[in-house]
């Protein structure tokens, strides 16, 4: 089996809203895939269709070479809506979910203890779910989603609502599960977490996949061709002279007023073959404390792609 999930031409409409519009992508087995997109982009709808909780209007979805319905016990799912039985005890709730996921009762208590310890929740088994904080309930729900050690784990916004310490703990756990061979796909708004964890990124906007690639390829493709220069002299004077250097398209001040962001023309090589002439030309203007090539973050890519779409939509609405 090569692909854990294969989505082909899937569309879904809710009344007047086209939630998902002919998307296609694959999630290779063993990958850790981030599913990114702005609010209302269609992430949760896509995930629910993958889980066969709702069904596409057209197209088809293959999960673990079949339907999610056939592999419910092989999938761990954390939905966007957090929910527990408020009056059930924590241990009973996890046990109930594990049993529904096909786990035998033998050894289950020990495994629950281990997971609670792993998620920094020792000693809460006997407490009722409603007595726990929201973040703790979320971790309980995460445990109940993965306790049966599924082959494929689908997490919808797993980091939302967690404090930084717990978000980091959850990130480490997700990474460890992926290292143990699990295929994981998770949606998130926290792009730097996706950047740290994922080896593959899917980005959806307005119901369409706008990125489906590994992280390095995405960075290369969305290279902003920008140099970041910190000068030792007056930044304004440096900017004036640098604009006259061959190959410079535009210059703007960075967030730090001593830093200039110099956008280069397309033909200029900013990689290993960066010409000495360019460096020399800049250096003759004034001494530089640092010169670096700006690496695009997922934030940059996200803003670029989503911002472009929004601008396009706004433009079409005004015409």
């Amino acid at each position: 089996m090569n692909d854990a999930i294969h989505v082909r031409g899937v569309s879904k409409r809710f009344g007047e809203v086209q939630a998902v519009d002919g998307i296609e992508f694959v999630v290779p087995a063993g990958s850790l895939c981030g599913f990114l997109g702005p609010n209302g982009a269609g992430k949760s709808t896509t995930i629910r269709m993958i889980m066969s909780i709702i069904y596409p209007d057209s197209g088809n979805i293959s999960v673990l070479d079949g339907s999610a319905l056939d592999h419910k016990d092989g999938i761990g799912y954390l939905p966007e809506e957090r929910g527990v039985y408020r009056k059930m005890r924590v241990g009973d709730f996890i046990k109930y979910m594990a049993r529904l996921k096909g786990m035998p009762s033998r050894g289950l208590g020990k495994r629950i203890d281990d997971w609670l310890e792993r998620m920094d929740l020792e000693g809460v088994q006997k407490r009722k779910c409603q007595e726990l904080s929201k973040g703790m309930q979320q971790k309980i729900q995460f445990i109940s989603a993965v306790i049966h050690e599924p082959e494929l784990i689908i997490l919808d916004e797993p980091f939302s609502g967690l404090d930084p310490v717990n978000a980091r703990l959850l990130g480490r756990t997700i990474k460890a599960m992926n290292d143990a061979g699990r295929t994981i796909i998770f949606s998130t708004h926290v792009l730097h977490q996706a950047e740290q964890l994922c080896d593959r990124v899917l980005m959806i906007n307005k119901g369409r996949i706008v990125i489906d690639d590994d992280l390095d390829t995405i960075r290369r493709r969305h290279d902003p061709r920008t140099l970041r220069v910190r000068t030792a002299m007056d930044a304004g004077g440096f900017k004036e002279q640098a604009e006259r250097v061959a190959g410079v398209r535009s210059i703007r001040f960075g967030e730090d007023p001593e830093v200039l962001e110099i956008a280069m023309d397309d033909g200029i090589d900013l990689g290993e073959g960066m010409s000495h002439e360019l460096i020399e030309a800049l250096n003759t203007i004034g001494s530089m404390r640092s010169l670096e090539i700006k690496t695009p973050t997922l934030d940059d890519v996200f803003v670029e792609l989503v911002g472009t779409t929004i601008a396009r939509v706004e433009a079409s609405e005004t015409t």
Binding site: K72, M97, L100
Partner: protein
């Protein structure tokens, strides 16, 4: 493990959770089990408590009776009562020495838990009589009453015993008329109502019997003449003659139907609230990642069916015990019990599946009220039909409504329990078949709604939207 076995196991887990968090909770045990048990206990204890707490009537009763006849008659009546009481106590003692501690007495083929003829509600009377012929003594007697030496003074006017007096021909004198129609009874401030009643009863009886004596009439003969006879209705059929107990026969159908009604409605309500709770707690999507909506609904229905059956057996068992207690156990047959269980299953799955569908479609109980109409119609119509059907179980109304799916279980139970003749077998088979088919259809429709409804949030759907959900892929 095969897929179907795995699915079945999941359904069992869901069902067990429903039972665990419905029937094994303090609220359920207190409300559904505790209250009936407490009521049963109260029924047993109530007469005992009453008998122990009724203050006996003891002391001296003065009777101002110029004729002296009423006083003598009161003495006779009290003596007769005392002898009766003693005889009853002796009988009770004898029964206690019999096997089963005398608690059960085999009577007429049935079991009776009742004591022999001892009236537990009767006030024990232990009076001494002071018959005074001179009415002039009354003021002095009143002083003695106030001093606590007497329990009461009855003043019997001569006119009261005048059996020949023509009341209509009397002069228009209220006091005179009152003396012909009533007597005065002076009591102390602290005399209990039960004592007053007991005293009044004895005195009235004594006046009546004295009048009979004065009129030279045999009181017992007159009493017998005036007593309206009872009726022992006997149903004659090809299978023989069966005695009829009309009152019980009228009560039995409604008792059975109410059993069906209460257990069905209570469990349906539990399904409604637990489904709404799962939606409002947002745990539904977590569940649906592990089981299909159909498995979830099936598990819930099966779990609650155990709870409903438990209620049915508990309340039904109490009713049957009650029939044994009053020696009417022959009214219940094995056939009736089996058919009751069949109709219970039909009623339960019909109402519970509707409740599950409604619970899945709404986000809180308030929203559910607007969609409860169909379920309430099913539950209210049998109440309206109860009287006409029990009065005439063979009428066209009874036969036709017995084949209308939502009403089948309730109407058929009413018919079977109230009819003196056996309901034709084809009608029972047809009603069970139609009931079974309609349960399947209802489960299918409600499962379609449930599947869509469990994931819906926001505004509750209209009935039309519910119909549309059935067609969703």
């Amino acid at each position: 493990m095969s897929t179907s076995a795995n699915g079945l196991r999941k359904i069992v887990h869901i069902a067990w959770r429903e039972i665990r968090y419905t029937a094994l909770t303090p609220a359920f045990l207190l409300g559904v089990v505790g209250v009936p048990i407490a009521m049963l206990g109260l029924i047993v204890l109530y007469p005992l408590l009453l008998s122990q707490e009724a203050r006996p009537l003891e002391g001296t009763l003065a009777i101002v009776d110029p004729s002296g006849l009423v006083g003598t008659q009161v003495e006779i009546i009290l003596e007769e009562d005392r002898l009766e009481e003693e005889a009853a106590k002796k009988l009770e003692e004898t029964l206690k020495k019999l096997p089963l501690d005398g608690a059960l007495q085999n009577a007429g083929g049935g079991m009776s838990l009742f004591r022999p003829n001892i009236d537990l509600f009767k006030t024990e009377i232990n009076l001494e009589l002071l018959v005074v012929l001179d009415p002039e003594e009354l003021p002095r007697l009143k002083d003695r009453l106030q001093a606590g030496e007497l329990v009461g003074i009855a003043v019997i006017p001569d006119e009261l015993l005048d059996v020949t007096a023509d009341l209509e021909a009397l002069p228009d004198d209220e006091e005179l008329l009152a003396r012909h129609e009533s007597f005065e009874l002076f009591l102390t401030q602290d005399s209990a109502p039960n004592q007053t009643n007991a005293l009044e009863d004895v005195l009235k009886q004594a006046v009546v019997e004295t009048r009979a004596q004065l009129g030279d009439i045999d009181y017992e003969t007159v009493q017998r003449i005036l007593t309206r006879p009872g009726v022992r209705a006997i149903r004659v059929s090809e299978s023989g003659e069966n005695p009829e107990n009309i009152k019980i026969r009228m009560i039995l159908p409604i008792v059975l139907m109410m059993l069906l009604w209460v257990s069905t409605l209570t469990s349906g309500n539990y399904i409604l609230t637990s489904t709404i709770e799962e939606k409002s707690n947002r745990v539904m999507e977590v569940l649906l990642s592990a089981v299909s909506p159909m498995q979830l609904m099936t598990g819930k229905l099966l779990g609650q069916s155990v709870v409903a059956s438990f209620m049915m057996v508990m309340y039904g068992g109490m009713a049957i015990l009650g029939l044994f207690a009053i020696a009417m156990a022959d009214l219940i047959s094995v056939g009736l019990i089996v058919l009751s269980l069949c109709y219970f299953a039909i009623a339960y799955f019909m109402v519970a599946s509707i409740m599950a569908a409604i619970g899945s479609a709404v986000n809180d109980l308030r929203d559910a009220q607007s969609l409860m109409g169909p379920a309430m119609i099913i539950l209210i119509l049998p109440m309206i039909l109860w009287m006409p059907i029990t009065n005439n179980p063979e009428s066209a109304l009874a036969v036709v409504t017995g084949f209308i799916p939502p009403l089948i279980p309730f109407v058929m139970i009413l018919r079977i329990a109230s009819s003196s003749e056996a309901i034709p077998i084809w009608q029972i088979v047809l009603s069970l078949t139609l009931g079974g088919l309609s349960v399947v259809a209802m489960l299918w429709m409600c499962a379609r709604i449930f599947r869509v409804g469990v994931l819906m949030q926001g505004k509750p759907p209209s009935p039309l939207e519910l119909l549309r959900w059935m067609r969703y892929r």
